[in-house]
C-alpha cells in the first residue's frame, strides 16, 4: 500500500468517525452543564463518610477502589511486560561497565553542574514524593503522583552518578519486591474486608477525628501509600530496563 492510498483510506474512515462523534455530541449536555447526580452526590457525602477532604482521592481509593485496583495491575503488568520484552536476547552480551558505544557518537562526560543540581534535587524530591503519597486524603495528591516523584528522586541518583551506582541504590530484586508489596498490599486491604464479612474494599479502618488530617480517612490513606510504593517501584524498574538496553546490553560479535 502506498502512503497516499493509506491517507485516502484514513480520510474516508475519519469522515465516518467524525459523523459518529457529532452524533454522539448532539445529546451531550453542553460544556459547563454537567447534569449529575453521581458526582454531586459524592461531593456532598464524601467528606462526611470518609473525612477525606480530597474527593478525587476518595473516589479513586474508596468509592471506585475496585477500578483503581485494576488500573494498578495494568501498571504492574506493563512493568513485567517491559522487563520480559527487554530481556537479554540470544547473541547479546551484558557488559560489566556501563558505556554508550554508539559508533558515530562521542559522548561527553556529565558536567559537574548537572551532577550538583541532580544531587541537590534528590533530597527535596524524596520529601515531596513522600508528602504527596501520604496526603492523598487531604489535597490533590496521592499514591500515583507521589510514586512518580519518588521514582524521579532515584533517577536523579543516576544523573548525579552513573548507571551502576543507580542500580546499587535500587537493585532489581529489591525493586521487584517493593512492587509486589505495593500491588499485593492494595489487594490484601480489600480481601481483609471480605474476611471481616464486609464487601470487598470496604473502608473499615477508623476515619480519625479531623477532616483532611494524615490520620483521617481510614483505608484511603493506606491504599494510597501502597499505590505509591507500587508506582515508584514500577517506574524505577522500567527506567532500569530501558537504561540497561542502552548502556549494558550489546549485540554479539
Amino acid at each position: 500500500m502506498t502512503p497516499s492510498q493509506r491517507r485516502w483510506i484514513f480520510l474516508i474512515a475519519a469522515a465516518g468517525l467524525l459523523a459518529f462523534f457529532v452524533w454522539g455530541l448532539l445529546d451531550l449536555p453542553g460544556f459547563g452543564r454537567y447534569p449529575g447526580p453521581y458526582g454531586f452526590i459524592i461531593n456532598r457525602i464524601a467528606l462526611r463518610q470518609t473525612l477525606a477532604t480530597g474527593t478525587v482521592s476518595a473516589v479513586n481509593f474508596d468509592y471506585r477502589g475496585f477500578d483503581t485496583l485494576g488500573e494498578e495491575f495494568i501498571l504492574f503488568t506493563a512493568a513485567i511486560g517491559v522487563s520480559t520484552v527487554l530481556r537479554r536476547l540470544r547473541g547479546e552480551r551484558e557488559q560489566q561497565s556501563a558505556a554508550d558505544e554508539a559508533a558515530d557518537r562521542d559522548v561527553p562526560p556529565t558536567s559537574s553542574a548537572v551532577r550538583m543540581a541532580a544531587l541537590l534535587f534528590t533530597g527535596p524530591l524524596v520529601v515531596l514524593g513522600w508528602w504527596l503519597t501520604s496526603h492523598a486524603q487531604a489535597n490533590p495528591s496521592g499514591g500515583f503522583q507521589g510514586g512518580v516523584v519518588l521514582a524521579s528522586a532515584l533517577i536523579m541518583v543516576y544523573l548525579a552518578g552513573e548507571f551502576l551506582v543507580f542500580k546499587r541504590f535500587s537493585p532489581v530484586d529489591v525493586t521487584d519486591a517493593v512492587e509486589a508489596v505495593g500491588a499485593g498490599g492494595f489487594a490484601a486491604i480489600g480481601v481483609a474486608a471480605v474476611g471481616m464479612g464486609l464487601a470487598f474494599l470496604t473502608n473499615y479502618l477508623s476515619k480519625g477525628q479531623y477532616a483532611g488530617a494524615v490520620s483521617s480517612s481510614g483505608t484511603i490513606a493506606l491504599i494510597s501509600f501502597f499505590v505509591g510504593l507500587e508506582v515508584a517501584a514500577a517506574f524505577i524498574l522500567i527506567v532500569i530496563e530501558l537504561l540497561e538496553q542502552t548502556l549494558l546490553i550489546r549485540g554479539g560479535e
Binding site: 491517507r7 474527593t55 478525587v56 471506585r64 511486560g81 530496563e241
Partner: protein
C-alpha cells in the same frame, strides 16, 4: 462556545490519528498515540465541568460550595497512569523491533514481515 471543548477533543483526536497513519518512525507513532489519548483527558474533564464551580477539595471551603464532578477527574488520573504504562511497553517493543529489523519505519516493517 457551548461545544468548543468538544471541538478541541475532535481536533486533538484527528491530529493524533493522522500522525499514526502517516508516521514514518515508530517513536513518532508512539507519541502520536499519546496525542490521541490526550483527547480523552479533555473530553472527560469537559464532560464533568460545571460553570463557576471549584475543584472538589473541601479543605477550606464548605461542603455546599458548588464543585465539579470528581469522578471524571479520578478517571483522568487513571487514564494518565495507563498511558504512561502503555508508552513504556510500546517503547520497549520499538527497541526490539529496531534490533531485529534494523529499521524503525513502520511502513518498511510491514514489507519485512507480512
Amino acid at each position: 462556545m457551548e461545544y468548543f471543548p468538544f471541538i478541541v477533543v475532535a481536533w486533538i483526536l484527528a491530529v493524533g490519528l493522522y500522525g499514526i497513519v502517516t508516521s514514518r518512525h515508530l517513536v513518532h507513532q508512539i507519541i502520536c498515540l499519546i496525542v490521541v489519548q490526550s483527547s480523552t483527558y479533555v473530553l472527560l474533564l469537559g464532560v464533568g465541568y460545571v460553570t463557576g464551580a471549584v475543584a472538589p477539595y473541601y479543605y477550606d471551603i464548605t461542603v455546599h460550595t458548588p464543585a465539579v464532578d470528581p469522578v471524571v477527574q479520578a478517571l483522568t488520573l487513571t487514564d494518565v497512569v495507563v498511558e504512561a504504562a502503555v508508552t513504556a511497553l510500546l517503547c520497549s517493543f520499538a527497541i526490539q523491533a529496531h534490533k531485529r529489523f534494523g529499521t524503525l519505519d513502520p511502513q518498511a516493517l510491514v514489507s519485512l514481515k507480512g
